[in-house]
Symmetry: C2
Subunit: 398 residues, 2 copies
């Protein structure tokens, strides 16, 4: 059901011919009049044209409809890219009977390749004609690039519904330039409060995937609230339903996050790196990210080799000032580094070694790192580095 599970939304998706493969590549979403929107965007300095455009729309407190294309990212396209977004948005607005100022736009695909407007523009009116309350799945499919499955989630919060979908498959650094996440609810929430919900419930979750150092040019999270649940649908901080709504948003976010992780390119294992005891949350995030991104840790995960020395090396090389004597590391329940020291027993091929190997072969490998007694904690999600990852990314061209 994805984005059309909540009341007040219609969606559609189709193949417009933007992708050489002929797969679905154009999608529309529209919320009832009065729909509010909030967003989270990539911190990459080379942000795509649609990202800059969306930020502009959000600053005007408008935007209740969305056009998404897959195939071309419209990043690194300069002034032409800026113009192409406006051309797209004008055509989509006309097809939907809206003003251009009501339209948001997202793109995902090859960086640098200009949008195939010749294919996209004529497809918008027929696509708009198919918008429906059942269009969520079509929408979810049309935003995919190298994703192997569509990613959808729903949750209920008291009298309200929350739905969402996402695309993205690169866990290291999103391939094809994007993680896109769209979440809807039929609660009525002011755009300011909706931004707060996005910041509180979605940002920390998706930051685990999109920390500063590896965001793509197009990463975008958009949240829409239609208010279509009817009388008494207004939700604000302090209201009884605020926490329930936040919980449901978080639930949808968590589900989409897991689906993104599970569909990572060529991955056999998801890495969950929990860091605690850092001076600040930022420090904890940097350490967690250093471990999740370490090619040596990732190949060790692929090989099922616990290799605590590689984890320790990644922690030490993160740039965060840590005292080795305070570092503890566990894989699953198995403590492999204590006060910066790997127990010599680990190298005796005894039960410690064996238990760690079992933990390292789980589909979800959980690595716990404590770097002191500070309040900073954070989680990073990663995946193993497999032959398949090299194949997908080495062979991919368009």
């Amino acid at each position: 059901m994805s984005v059309t599970y909540p009341l007040g939304f219609r969606a559609a998706g189709m193949s417009a011919g933007l992708k050489p493969s002929g797969r679905p590549d154009l999608a529309l979403l529209i919320g009832d009049p009065g729909t509010t929107v909030a967003g989270l965007f990539t911190t990459n300095r080379v942000a795509a044209a649609p990202v800059r455009y969306c930020k502009e729309v959000l600053s005007t407190d408008r935007g209740r409809a969305l056009v998404v294309n897959s195939g071309q990212a419209n990043a690194a396209t300069g002034e032409r890219g800026e113009a192409d977004v406006r051309t797209t948005v004008a055509a989509a607005a006309e097809a939907l009977g809206l003003e251009p100022a009501d339209m948001l736009a997202c793109s995902t695909g090859v960086i640098g390749e200009p949008l195939h407007l010749d294919a996209m523009l004529p497809a918008l009116p027929p696509l708009a004609a198919t918008l429906s309350r059942d269009g969520g799945a079509d929408f979810a499919r049309a935003i995919m690039t190298t994703d192997t499955v569509e990613k959808q989630a729903t949750a209920d919060a008291a009298a309200f519904r929350v739905g969402g979908c996402a695309k993205g498959v690169g866990m290291i650094a999103p391939n094809l330039a994007t993680m896109l996440v769209f979440v809807t609810t039929d609660a009525a929430v002011s755009s300011g409060d909706l931004q707060r919900l996005a910041d509180e419930q979605l940002k920390p979750r998706f930051n685990a995937l999109t920390v500063d150092a590896c965001t793509s040019t197009n990463d975008t999270v958009l949240v829409f609230a239609s208010g279509a649940a009817g009388e008494g649908s207004q939700v604000a901080p302090g209201a009884a339903a605020w926490d329930a709504l936040g919980g449901a948003l978080g639930e949808v976010g968590e589900s989409l996050l897991s689906q993104l992780a599970a569909d990572a390119e060529g991955a056999n294992h998801v890495l969950l790196i929990d860091v605690e005891g850092a001076a600040t949350e930022h420090d904890a995030r940097v350490v967690a990210k250093a471990v999740a991104d370490s090619p040596l840790v990732k190949t060790a995960a692929f090989g099922g080799d616990p290799n605590p020395g590689r984890i320790l090396q990644a922690v030490g090389s993160s740039g965060v000032d840590v005292d080795p004597a305070n570092i503890d590391i566990s894989i699953g329940d198995v403590r492999l580094v204590e006060n910066g020291v790997i127990p010599p027993a680990y190298f005796g091929h005894d039960s410690l070694d064996m238990a760690a190997r079992v933990a390292m072969k789980e589909p979800e490998i959980r690595i716990y790192v404590s770097v002191g007694d500070g309040p900073g904690r954070s989680r990073a999600l990663g995946c193993d580095l497999s032959y398949e990852y090299v194949r997908i990314n080495g062979e991919y061209t368009t």
Copy 2:
């Protein structure tokens, strides 16, 4: 000839049984009385016990002999590791007829595994008995881990000789915990001046491989000056021979660097990333490193796919504040990004696309990134990410 090419040095190497493979794993180097030493060390917060020990010796202005073992890194070994260095050094000093304060020590191998002192200590006296002017190659072989070839270089500077050897094969983040580089000269140089030569001639070169974000626990560069070239061998800044000596040191460093890059694990291509126009050298280095470390750029190199969008994405995600409109990128002689824009012609499979593909298939792939008109410039060395890299690091255990 490596470290014994200059006069005043003797070296030796042997198999002491530290490695399960039975390959050479223990090495000694000694300089004539009066030999001075300087060093560069890892910035990893989890520095190995021998790194901390060497820094201590250098601060006392002593250290004219060196014991190196491969097989165990003696990192993450805590107090036991500290004690093991001192035990090793005491035994080596006794075998060489020196005081322990004259000894330096380096280790490379598995992180966390304690040194196999039971095998190492009895081997030191017989190893010392084989020290010779011809021992440079044996020394170079005994410090190897997953290296496929020993890395040696020599150069001449007026009346002086410079020699060196190195080990290390991981370009992304050194595997088996170490890049070790040892350079010798028979000029007479005070330890302060020798440190200056190391800082000026070797640090910028090896920093291209060992930038902060990916140093291992054991990375070490040591430079020894014996003064054995005879009368008038004293060299100091301002002396006629100073520049020649610096040039020869740089030449040896450059050769070892290339040999390290060429032997990178599973690599088919060396990536040379030159960044210019950054606000500072530091910023340039961070950007260069972000490109060299990007798994998407590395797999693209493996696949022979220029993919300028991935390079641009890596530049934008480095964390350095760059203006996309100022970014130019070339691969070899082929300009693929101009003012932040990828020429649409690139996607037309025309001559631009083809020329870039040719440049991307060179053994040495040269990527030039200009991010503005600032004075900061830097180079990073990397390599492609291949199936073979995943195999080596996924299967490696001990």
